[in-house]
Every structure is written in C-alpha cells, then in structure tokens.
C-alpha cells in the first residue's frame, strides 16, 4: 500500500481516500460531496490543460482543481510509482 496525493494519480488508477486535510469551506465542500476517508475512487481523466481532474466516486463524476486534489490523500493499490506526474 502506498499513499499519494490525489493530484499524483494517473488516469484510470483506483484508490481509497485515506485523509482529507482541508478545513473551512473547501473542506466542507469536499466532504459534502462524499469524499471522506474510506471512500473508493477512480481517476476518470483530466481536462485538456491537465487541470482540473475528473474522478469517479460514489456513482458520480466529480471534478476538482489540482490544488484542491493536493489536499486529498489516497491509498493506491499498486506499487507503481506515479511520482513526477502533473506536478
């Protein structure tokens, strides 16, 4: 198991949210959308300019900006390295 920020994940990759480190309005919005620890998600794709990122979570598609995705830690299943992508 390997924990990475959501931003670092690549298209199609799956994982489970382990931590949301955002407070205030952003934190509340993220949680209202159902992004709480333990929630599985999958990266659906990225906008043409690589930002925002689209994820599949709880039967719907949500897009968030990369700087918002930074605050979400995801436990990814494989040991593949995704470092250096889209930073």
């Amino acid at each position: 198991m390997n924990t990475v920020p959501l931003r670092r994940m690549s298209a199609g990759q799956k994982g489970i949210i382990s931590r949301v480190s955002a407070g205030g309005e952003l934190g509340r919005r993220i949680r209202d959308m159902g992004l709480v620890p333990g929630t599985p998600l999958q990266i659906q794709g990225r906008a043409p300019l690589k930002d925002p990122v689209a994820i599949r979570v709880r039967d719907f598609t949500l897009t968030l900006r990369n700087n918002e995705a930074d605050l979400i830690q995801v436990e990814v299943e494989d040991e593949e390295s995704h470092e250096g992508r889209n930073t």
Binding site: A54, R58, F60, T61, L62, L64, R65
Partner: protein
C-alpha cells in the same frame, strides 16, 4: 403559514442535477411564479397544485448538496425550512446516486421536518444494474419513499398523494438521531441538555441540531445564539473549542470532518444488507462516460467545444435576426403612424422618440433573450455546460474567473456581434459569487452588435482597405481588456481566494421540451417585467436630456424667418410641395424645366436650415451642454462636444452614437444603416484623422455599458452600487486608454 385557507406549504429540496426542477415543472406546469428571495439574487419558484380539494403551495428550493451555511443557496434553503416551516418537505433523491443524495436527506431529517422522499431516476438506476429495495429503505429510515421517473411523470400522483396525506396528518417535528461516535456524542449530549434546559433557540431548531451547529462552527447559528443568550452561547462555543482542540491533538481532525464521516457511515449502514444490489460492475463505462472520452478529449474536446459555442452564437443571433427585424419594423411603423397623427410639439416628441423608441428598445431584445436562454437551457440541461467549465477552467482561473465565465463572454460579443444584456444574464449559471460578479462586470467590454455599426462606420472612413484586419484586432483587444480587467477587479475590490471548484459532471441527458420552454419563458418574462420599467424610465430621461430646453425663442424665430423668406417666392400650392418631406417624383419622361429644378434647390436649402436648427437645438440641449462642459477633459483623448454628446446618447443605446453624431454634424437624422454620408463627412473633416478615430473606437469599446445592460447588472449583482461601479469604472478605463492611444499616437507623430 401552512393553514392559510386550506392550503399546505410544501418545499422541494434536493441536490443539483437530481431532477428537482423537472419534477417541479411536471407538477405545477405553467402555474408557477418565479421571483427572488428578498434582497438576494437566488431565484425563488413557487407553484400550485390542486389535489382532492386541497391546495398545495409548492416552493422549489435552490439545489444544494448540504444544509451548511457556506453558499447563498444553502442558506436560503435552510432559512426557508426553519422559518417558513413547511408542512412537508419533498426531498428528491437521485436513485442512481443514492449515497451522496441521502447526505442531504439526513440533514433535513436531523431538523425533524416531516419528509417524503421522491426516489427519482429509477429508470437510470435500473439501467445501471442497481436494484433498490425501496420498502426496506423506507422502513429503515422511517419515512415514505416514492419511486418515480420525473421526466415521464411516472410516480408523480403517488408522490403528491403521499405528501398531501402527510400534510393533512400534520405530525410534529421529530429529529433523526445519529450517533457521532465516542469523541462527539458525550459533549453533544451535554450541550443538548443545557440547550433544552435553557430553552435556547428551541422555538426554531431542535436542541441537538443547534448543538451540532456549534460543533461545526456554523457562523449564522452562533450569531443567532449569541443574540438570544450570549452567556450560554459563549459556554457552548467554549465546549466546542475543547472538542476541536482534543480532536486536533488526538486525531489531527476537525469536528466537522468527524460529523461528515459518521453521516456517510450511517448511509453506508442504511444501504447494507441487500438494500442496494448491483448486477453490474461499478466501474463499468456507461454511455455518458464514453461520450466524455470524446467530448472532453485532450484534442477533440476543445475543437468540438469551439464548434458548439460557435453554434450557440449562430443560433442565438442568426435565428433571432428575423423576429428582431419584425419588431424593429413594427415599432418604426408605429412611430411614423404616431408622428403623422399627433400634432407637433413636445408631447409628440415624447411619445415617438421617448416612449415608442424606449419600449421598442426593450422589446427588441426579447427575441435575443429567448434564443440565448433556450440555447443555454439546452447546454445546461444536457450536462454539456459543466464540461465547458471543466475544460476551460484552467484558462479562466488565471484571471480570477471560472470555467463557466466563457458563456457570458461569448454571448456578450466575444465573437463580435453579441449583446451584453443576455450575456450578463447568462452569468446565472455560475455559482461562485466573486467569479460571477467579476464576469458580469467585464462581459460588457466585448464588442456587442450595437457597437459594430459604429466601428464599421469609423473603419470604413479611415481604414477602408483594412476592414477585416481591424475588426479582428478589435476582437482580440476586447478579450484582452476583459480578461485583464477581470484580473484587476479580482485582485482589488473582489480580492480573495477562488471559490472551491468541485464541479459535478452530471450524466448527459436529453432535456425535456417542456422543461426547456418553461425555463426560457420564465427568464424572458422576468426580463420584460423588471428591466422593462427601468429601461423605459431611463429612455424617457435621455429623450428629455436631448430635447430640452430646445431652441430659444429668438433662434427659432430666426430659423422660421429664413425659411419664410425662401418660401415667399412660391405660390401657396408650391409651398406645400417645397415643405413636404417626400420629394415629388416627376414622371420620368417629363422634360427638365427650370421650375422643378428651382423647387428642388429650394427644398435642399430648406432642409439645410432644418438640419442647422437640429444641430443648434442639440448643442443647446442639456446633453449638448454636458458635452460642451466635458470638452476640457475630453480633448485629452481627442473628442469635441459633438463626439461627447454622441457618446452620451450611447449610454441609452450604442447604436444611437451614429445618429446623434449625424445630428451634431448637421447631417439630418440619419437612420440606422445609412451611415455612409456620416463616414464621408468625417473623413473629409480636417478635425478628424485615423488616430482620433481609433481613440474613439477604443473608447466606445470600453466605456460605460448601455442602460439596458446596467439595469441587468444591477439586477444580477443584487445592488445598484455595482451598476454605478460599472458605469464609472468602465468610463474611467475607457478615458485612460483612449487618452493613451491619442496622446501616445501624437507623440509618435501620428494623426497630424
């Protein structure tokens, strides 16, 4: 509130994109009323439904994901539930997206309002291989669930009967109890009993709910609480602060986060044990996802988007052209009819130039607005608009805007020739307040259809061989100006971090025809009703500015005497011919004789006197005096009183610039489109040169929007201050830029 003459108040609540508006339209049909919540710009929709002699008053609350106090929509929804205390809430839940939709349901149930859940989109859920045990779900949550498909109206009557039955029974509010775990529950219990003992806000909210809001740090509730009982409020805040600190130290978390975790945990438990069965793998790609693979593709996505936005633009402006011209012709005919029947004088002038032109101006926009809202409703209801925002967000965010801002820009004239009135109204699709305000303030910098004939005239006069190139340059200039000024606004008066983006991409759906029509009609009607009255008043004001005080008695006499002396040489019957507006057309084969040639010559002289009188009247009018007074300032950008007065009339409508400039140059009343003589006249005028013309173009591009737009800005921004801001800010920027162009050009030795 609920019992007024056997009427029950029922609120519709639900997430965005859950089919709430579709259901509302299906129930109330055309019997609905759209207004605003007092003081803010969130729409309030109300409608009625008769059921077995019962009158149901339905209010469509704004779509929200939650009942926190962060966005205006959420506050409105929550305040309505608490203050209006509807008998029943119909909570629309998207069955294909149960978990997230039930999150709102739980929050409504924690308030305790009697609830009926409309389990919508059962067809979509079934199509995705989801089987929902509705009875078991209803039993577990202890609220009625009505499965339905709002698009087809299936289940609608069952839902209304369930809601009416509940409203008649009128049960008391029974808040749902959710356990928030060992860290929160003890303190929540303590707070609850203290609140109950003190009767603290208990008339409004359930005690446990108030306690929860203190833990969540809800500013609105804490403010209310400290007004009601500041001592207890401070005590509760202290208790909440203790828990917050404890959680930070032990779990590195916030109470809010723990609360959300438990709510989602509650939902997970609710759906366990076969309540939801899936016959397909959850990560299967559905049609909608497959469409997205193409429509948001790195390369094809933007290309298709450009094409679709271009189509919207074409649709809005091409198809409205015909009805717009019918309306124009109709009002022109009405104007000339009134002109022929009314006696000359200020009353006639008021009716023809003030009222008919004013009303014509308002109604003239209607076809445009209809087509604009229709195309936006289409993009919105299909789900494509969210993709546009998704794809363009990166670009627009750089300037402090939002991906959805592009719509308003394009409609306002981003592809030359739009209109800022529907453009400003198009910002309604934007949910981030600061980004929305910055967008609607900068959209009027685009080159709208009314600025174009003015540009065309000036370009034809000074840059005749470079028409296309200059027009393209102007389009680029207006985008640059709008984006940079948006950045300026967002880093000064609307400073602050961007609103969280977190945009849902709803599945692509075919919109219903009825929904599109209702959507379009209600917004158009709102425009006619609200903007109409203000625009009419302003156009009358402008008419008065241009018409009064008119020529002085002695000047009028001088002009009359000049005319009479010219006419004295003709017999009575010829006088009429000389004065009549239409030139007598002699038969083609009639020989040219001296008499007709002389008559034509005198007619020409008489008309010249009229034009001179019109010019003098304009110069001495209030508008003319303002224009003259401004000369000391405006000469920096190269404008004299004639240009000033024309620009002033452009406040009323930009296309008036040409006709006013024509009058100021005593060219008589030039009708729209007949701007060539003015162009020739300006090109021949030694006071004019290409530099001055270009400074004028820059000024017209940037200065105060027309009054119709300002009215819409006031309405959409929710305060007249923003209307005032837009007028002064834009005019200041325009003046600075035009001065820069003119003085800079002169310094470089141009335009002499």
């Amino acid at each position: 509130m609920s019992d007024r003459s056997g009427e029950h108040l029922i609120a519709l609540a639900g997430n965005p994109n859950c089919g709430k508006t579709t259901l509302f339209n299906a129930i109330t049909g055309a019997r609905q009323h759209v207004g605003n919540y007092p003081g803010i710009t969130v729409e309030k929709k109300e409608g009625f439904y008769q059921l077995n002699g019962l009158q149901l008053r339905l209010v469509d609350l704004p779509g929200t994901y939650s009942l926190t106090a962060y966005s205006l929509e959420e506050l409105v929804a929550r305040d309505f539930l608490v203050q209006e205390r509807p008998r029943v809430v119909i909570n629309i839940v998207d069955a294909s997206n149960l978990e997230r939709n039930l999150y709102l349901t739980l929050q409504i149930m924690e308030l305790g309002i009697p609830l009926v859940v409309a389990l919508n989109m059962m067809d979509v859920a079934a199509g995705r291989g989801m089987e929902i045990d509705v009875e078991e779900l209803a039993r577990r949550l202890r609220v009625p669930f009505v499965p339905m498909v709002a698009r087809t109206g299936k289940g609608k009557s069952g839902l209304l009967e369930a809601a009416a039955e509940l409203a008649e029974r009128n049960p008391s509010w029974e808040p749902l109890y959710i356990s928030y775990g060992p860290d929160i529950d003890p303190v929540l219990d303590d707070m609850e009993s203290e609140i109950k003992a003190a009767g603290f806000l208990t008339g409004l909210f359930p005690a446990r709910w108030t306690a929860l809001k203190y833990l969540e740090g809800d500013e609105q509730i804490i403010k209310k609480g400290s007004e009601a009982n500041s001592q207890l409020s401070m005590h509760l805040e202290a208790l909440a602060a203790d828990v917050t600190e404890h959680l930070r130290v032990t779990l590195d978390s916030y109470p809010e986060a723990i609360i959300a975790d438990h709510r989602y945990g509650f939902i997970a438990a609710l759906l366990k044990g076969g309540v939801v069965k899936r016959t397909q793998k959850a990560d299967r790609l559905y049609l909608s996802d497959q469409l997205d693979r193409v429509l948001t593709h790195r390369f094809f996505g933007p290309v298709i988007m450009m094409f679709i936005l271009y189509l919207v633009y074409q649709f809005t402006f091409k198809y409205s052209e015909l009805p717009v011209s019918w309306l124009g012709t109709g009002f022109a005919a009405l104007g000339s009819f009134m002109e022929s029947v009314l006696p000359p004088g200020p009353v006639k002038s008021l009716i023809v130039s003030g009222i008919i032109d004013g009303v014509g101006g308002i109604i003239g926009f209607v076809p445009l607005i209809v087509f604009m809202f229709l195309s936006i409703a289409l993009l919105e209801d299909t789900g494509y608009l969210a993709r546009v925002a998704y794809m363009l967000d990166r670009v627009f965010r750089t300037f402090g805007l939002h991906g959805s801002s592009v719509m308003a820009y394009i409609i306002s004239g981003g592809i030359a020739g739009g209109c800022a009135v529907p453009g400003v109204m198009a910002t309604r699709t934007l949910r981030s307040p600061k980004e929305r305000l910055a967008t609607l303030l900068t959209a009027p910098f685009m080159n709208c259809g009314a600025k174009l004939p003015v540009f065309a005239m000036l370009i034809a006069a000074y840059f005749p061989d470079k028409h296309a190139r200059i027009m393209f340059l102007l389009t680029l200039l207006s985008w640059t100006a709008a984006l940079l000024l948006a950045k300026l606004i967002r880093s000064t008066i609307l400073r602050g971090p961007s609103t969280p983006f977190l945009l849902e991409l709803p599945p692509y759906r075919l919109p219903t025809f009825k929904g599109l029509l209702i959507h379009t009609w209600e917004r158009t009607w709102q425009y006619i009703r609200k903007a109409g009255t203000i625009i009419l008043a302003i156009s009358i004001l402008f008419w008065a500015l241009m018409a009064f005080p008119g020529l002085s008695e002695s000047d009028r006499r001088t002009f009359d005497e000049k005319k009479q002396s010219l006419l004295a040489q003709f017999p009575e019957d010829m006088k009429q011919a000389a004065l009549s507006k239409d030139a007598p057309t002699p038969p083609k084969d009639a020989p040219e004789n001296d008499a007709t040639a002389h008559l034509a010559q005198v007619r020409e002289q008489l008309q010249a006197i009229d034009r001179e009188a019109a010019q003098m009247s304009l110069k001495s009018s209030f508008a003319g005096r303002i224009g003259t007074a401004l000369e000391s300032l405006s000469r920096w950008s190269g404008f004299d009183w004639r240009t000033n007065v024309a620009l002033l009339s452009g406040f009323a409508a930009k296309e008036l610039i040409i006709s006013t400039l024509g009058t100021a140059y005593s060219l008589g009343e030039s009708k729209r489109g007949q701007d060539i003589p003015l162009g020739d006249r300006l090109a021949a005028d030694p006071r004019w040169n290409p530099l001055r013309a270009f400074a004028l173009i820059v000024f017209i591009m940037l200065y105060a929007p027309c009054f119709a737009t300002v009215t819409c800005i006031i309405k959409e921004a929710g305060s007249w201050k923003w209307g005032l801001f837009s007028m002064t800010f834009n005019t200041t920027i325009a003046f600075l830029m035009a001065t820069l162009v003119y003085q800079g050009g002169r310094w470089l030795g141009l335009g002499t």
